[in-house]
Symmetry: C7
Subunit: 79 residues, 7 copies
């Protein structure tokens, strides 16, 4: 992993195509492959699973989450 200091939005851009977990403000989580993300944190997830209280409650082929709902994005560093 690079030792260089990257800005948060740059880090997210460099994580495209990694698996991520996106937690929203309503505490629901989405796990999937991050196809893309923009500076507002609008994010495309492919092959996404929706989790509430740790359980999968739905699966989605492709969703676009509106960025203002995002609490955090967890990046899986193990490609």
């Amino acid at each position: 992993m690079s030792q260089a200091v990257k800005k948060p939005l740059t880090t997210l851009q460099k994580s495209i195509n990694k698996n991520v977990t996106v937690r929203l403000k309503n505490d629901v989580e989405y796990h999937g492959r991050m196809n893309n993300i923009d500076p507002y944190m609008n994010v495309i997830l492919a092959d996404a699973s929706e989790y509430t209280s740790g359980n999968v409650v739905a699966n989605f082929g492709k969703i676009v989450i509106r960025g203002n709902n995002v609490l955090f994005v967890k990046i899986d560093d193990t490609l």
Copy 2:
């Protein structure tokens, strides 16, 4: 499906006339044909059904949803 990496808003634009499910922050969902969408995620749905807790509760010929209410847009890739 294209292998090219598209930005979230571009992906939504390219999905015009597909069927989508729009989930709002209040957990109500709208399923219909996405006639158009703008960068704020204001979205026009035609022949839309409204779902609460998985049940259809209303049908609308045409609605324009204000973008700031959107949690996510799920795209049906099977045209």
Copy 3:
């Protein structure tokens, strides 16, 4: 109805003088003739009825709704 693809705000502009139902974030609905609407979705309704839980609870000759409260605008296509 036009087959052309119109942007959400254009669709709303073209619906001026149609009857619409405006649902707000607080789940109250207003039905009336849409005299005008601007890009922020500030909307003028004339001869408006206010509905809560499907019942008319008030009538207004003319109200101007502040756009940020709008959940969606349903357009009555039958002029």
Copy 4:
């Protein structure tokens, strides 16, 4: 009353010195003479009465309401 189509903010500007009812997001209502209003919907009410659940609970000589709290402005067309 003019048949011309006016924008929402223009309609509010043309209603200065009319009696209005301003309903806020917290469901409290203020009835009074609208001395002035700006495009953000900051509004000055003179000789205003405050209503909760339809009852007058306070009277104010002059208040300036911050626009972002406004749900709608009802215009009394009978000058």
Copy 5:
């Protein structure tokens, strides 16, 4: 009092050094001398009393209230 029509923010500017009551969105009220106010409605109150449910619960020599919390400013016209 002037008969001229003043904009809401101008009216507030012209009320500097008057006594005012500032009600916030959380229903707490602050009464004091308005030392200054800016267009965002950030407001300085001197010799301020804090009221909840009509009772004084605290006194402050000088506070600066962040404008986005303001519901309304009531102006005491009797200098």
Copy 6:
């Protein structure tokens, strides 16, 4: 104390290094020395104590509070 009328943000700038109490929208309060503040009301507090319901619940060497959470800043005029 100066008799000149200062803008709210100027008053806050001139109060750097004074002791202040910052109340947040969630009703928690922070008392400490205000090292700095910017126009968005992002504020640095040093040697800060956190209060809930009037009791100290934590102490912090240095915290940076995000401005949009601020309800008000109370300035201790007694240097």
Copy 7:
């Protein structure tokens, strides 16, 4: 530590690579090494632990928190 007065965002920038605690509006806290932060307070935490009510409930290799959720950032001055 520098005696110079630094702006809040500058202070955060100068704290990159320090350990911090980030408390969010939902009262959940994240402790970890702050890899980077931008002016919106979007923040990258590495080797982060999530705390609710003072207990560790999860560990994350790397998360990017969206800035608008931040209540405050506590800086550990002991490098």
